[in-house]
Subunit: 346 residues, 4 copies
């Protein structure tokens, strides 16, 4: 552990994902304490004022500026900011030679039609277009090589991660009878909805409840389609709000082209994720539950095959703030820096 | 409110459904206080000892016997007992001229192949076969006329109720493209698993968790198939255990044969449930949530149609102990006695 | 049930207590459907738009005015409004000859020093002073006779109800060694904090958590002191926020003046609450839990006495939206109208 | 990180505390993978079969024997076993020259009268008496020096830790007016009740509920008295069961002998815990909440003083499985081995 520690900054540490990221970074052996940045001039103070969990730490937040990033020698900026702000800041920051891992949805989508749901208004459309093309989708299990050298990593959505990890091995193996339809019924804890209080996140509205939302229209759909190659008309994705703080479970229903055995399917997964630090494939007869991966960076995947050898149910779980956000961001940093992917995440 | 009150008995009041039923019956204006019966000779005592919610009531339980039923003039027996016990007792009780509403799964299934999952061993197979044929599936919205004159009403399963209420109108209208598959992703609170403590119902195992279970093998599947007429190979039903005490939400995915409008589908539901006291069809743009029907006898149904006019998502909610068990049992009693279906359930 | 039904109105039905009250009133056999009133001109619409639980009902809200109250023949107005608004409206409404049950804290306190925590600015101080003197504290178990003829009933606070019901019998019997101190450690579900979303009521902040708040400064303290006659310096009241939607449990610690037996203490309670419809005294060896009274109008009280015969622990539970708010309001209406106190509350 | 790793064993890894301990030990840089032991010959298998959270690990359990401990070179044994078993095994294991950290209540109490609540029947009373005298109460903040050289460390109870950490500084400073009484109202998550399913830990009984239990009789009382020096007649300790999986909050009410300022009290705490790795004293105006310390090894303490300068409320929080059990056990190991107390606990 000789030599200087790596210098990073976080913009947006007061949100749930930004806080989780900061907390992880404080324990990462190769990182200097991150520079914490706030956008609005009035809301600085210190992170421990927002999160008494950090009592005993001193984590002052400073106003964001390019000058500050440079004067502190920041080499990597994490953005845990609204999508629009990320569209605005990324071009400027990259120009300073600073690499970026962006936790927002701003740079995840390659296809303009998919991006349309966000309604971005870019200051310079041609710059934005180049960066849309350049940005690397930050799912290391799919794009490890590109991430290593990326300037801009678009950290995936939480639902999208859980679903793509489950579907990608089968999609790439070409075994899904996609015309028959792929149904994704996903359920998430409330921290995925962010820290801002709304009627929807009021305790009394969520507790003892379950509700479906964004039916036929959730913004993570584009990521799922682009990363699996499935067509929009073949995929239905329905998120539900669970009365728990964190964790996602996605139940995925599809039909295989060929009659297969459990071992056939298992082989596809085991080979795809051989050596993967943060994906666990469950054995026959057991399925992941939210509790198994909460407070870890794992995405767990299990499955069950009907007697007909065709109808397949996939179950995928993760912690939406870790593998679904901050943990994956740190995993991406590890990949970009050539460190062990487990570093700082155990 | 002239005349004598109707005389009933409950066997199995200490379980969650039996307790809920008893509590409802105490407030039903047309009913005498139910005779409470226990099967095991050792566990009598009083119901308020098991449920301090009933402090101030006096609800002694007595050992079950046919003589007792007769001597008390019981006209209707509710069974909230294990399936096997219900198979054993029903023939004897009916012979005494006492009608039965059975909350177990014993008499719900017409098809022997579906019944096989329960593995019943009947004392007299020919009597059992006759009663299997005679028993009426106690979903009043589907079988009101038969229930009126039934001697034996098989009260539906909780999951089954939520799913059949959503699917039956479309199935009977013949609009489901069933070959394309019907996916039922259902989520239930823990009281559905019964009062007996097990590792699966330990608070620490359920809280902050979600898990799929009985994948490709839940016993309510037979009810769903028989009541909707769908084929086993076309339906996938996956239950999940929610970290809440009560409530079920079923999300159902299917494809319509013909391109349709929202209004087309809504019309089918509104006509099917015109005048129904305990089914509510939600308007366009709103979907039921578990909170809306918990502590009521309603089954709520809503839906959303994809832009293609074919892919349909149904959401159905109910309280598993009310419309999913005890409330429906009382609704069936109301039907059998020719009373208002809302009586005692508001 | 001959004759016209009694005419009421509710101002503030969109809050949790107002909604609960409205829902109860719809089932009260002696009441016409309440006139629902909203204060702000922009937010009318219908109650079912705010609470899909009411799907199938039609409950339009109309702008509040004295004219409307008169033209509809309203005989009793329920206020489920902010304290300040209640201070403003009550004098005007009473002048129209309409009686009022006020669920806010506006008129509960007789002592100006206690009222000071609310910081009321009254339009007419002398009118306010007269009404402060006239208002009856709406705990029927203590003030039944005065409530019968009251024009203005101040419905008690939720914490205050649970604590006063437990302490009043002992305080009035003069058996508390108050100089030794009375410690009240109370815990409440989140609906007590109201429907407006705040950081404090965000699901993620409350779930899996417990916190003390308003230490040495909760506004219900004044009610407790005035109704029990205890001195401020002898009582400590600490509320805590529980991760549940509804329910209060208060644990109260005190010392008796004289060495006593359990039976001595029980006698005081049983005599005090003899015939009370909505207070249940638990037997030796059992203590109330929140689950026992949630969704009922009961306040449950139990206690345990140390071997020294002096140190006494009281446990008191209720549903903060029922006996702690809307249920008690309806109980007060029943008293005011000379109806059975259980009417509409079973 | 040169040299061989330290060799340990855990008996009782399948319980909640034992599992948590094992999980922590796998990440402790100075420890070899622990030898996992099971008592009953039939229940071996592997820990990951009991906790799918450990999918991907291989943690076989072996039958406990002294021979096995010796043959594996175990230097420290952790007991996460029933109290009685710990009484039986400890003398035998110590004789082998193996040190012990015992998570049960077996060896915590010095006073025979306090120990009586456990009803131990020791095989050799004189050996047991010597060990009762020798055992060190494993709260490092109070007994660090003795722990360093102890052969047998009795890891404190979860409630006891939270309460003693809050009371000890004041008790040792002699500022408590104990004759006036000390009231401890404590609330714990369900994992404190153990993994065995019972009616009391059934999800439906705990969820949406709060209950007091073991009133005037909880077994941790003896630890509190012995470690603070307070007298039994001056302390009331009432535990409550919270509807959350983990975490304890204790609210403690006492009176100071002398009129004091907040700063006076704060000074006592800050000096007492100067340099403590795992106790955090909260600043004026803020109080610990359960969320702040869950999933950490911290015990957080805060307080509020009444205007009279005498009545003091202490609030203390910790994670019952970490600082309240497994985390503290590992902290004790760190102390015993002369390692940094934070090692393996961040």
């Amino acid at each position: 552990m000789s030599g200087a520690k790596f210098k990073t900054a976080v913009l947006g540490a007061t949100g749930y994902a930004g806080f989780e990221l900061t907390r992880l970074m404080l324990r990462h052996a190769k990182l200097a304490r991150p520079v914490l940045l706030a956008r609005e001039s009035g809301s600085h103070g210190a992170l421990e004022d927002f999160y008494p969990q950090l009592t005993g730490e001193h984590l002052p937040m400073e106003p964001f500026s390019l000058e500050l990033l440079k004067s502190r020698g920041v080499e990597m900026l994490f953005l845990a900011t609204p999508h629009e702000l990320s569209r605005e800041l990324v071009p400027q920051v990259l120009e300073q030679g600073i690499r970026i891992i962006d936790l927002s949805g701003a740079w995840r989508l390659k296809c303009a039609a998919n991006r349309a749901v966000y309604g971005f208004v870019d200051p310079d459309a041609s710059v934005a277009a180049k960066l849309d093309a350049e940005a690397v989708y930050g799912l290391p299990e799919l794009h490890r090589e590109q991430i290593k050298s990326a300037r801009l990593v678009a950290n995936p959505g939480c639902y999208a991660t859980s679903i793509i990890v489950a579907l990608a091995p089968l999609a790439r193996a070409g075994v899904i009878d996609s015309a028959h339809g792929v149904v994704v019924d996903a359920k998430s804890g409330v921290s995925g909805a962010g820290k801002k209080p709304t009627q929807k996140t009021h305790f009394v509205e969520v507790a003892e409840n379950l509700s479906a939302y964004s039916v036929f229209g959730h913004r993570h759909t584009g990521e799922i389609l682009e990363q699996t190659g499935l067509r929009a008309e073949d995929v239905i994705f329905t998120p539900h709000l669970l009365p728990i703080p964190r964790g996602i479970l996605s139940t995925i229903y599809l039909r295989l082209k060929q009659r297969s055995t459990f071992a056939d399917v298992e082989k596809i997964f085991r080979e795809f994720y051989a050596g993967a630090a943060w994906v666990r494939v469950f054995a026959a007869g057991s399925l992941p539950q939210i509790q198994h991966s909460v407070n870890t960076n794992f995405c767990d995947v299990g499955f069950a095959l009907a007697e007909d050898g065709k109808r397949l149910i996939l179950v995928s779980c993760l912690d939406n703030l870790l593998k679904g956000a901050a943990g994956q961001a740190l995993q991406n940093l590890n990949v970009m820096q050539g460190w062990n992917e487990r570093e700082g995440l155990n």
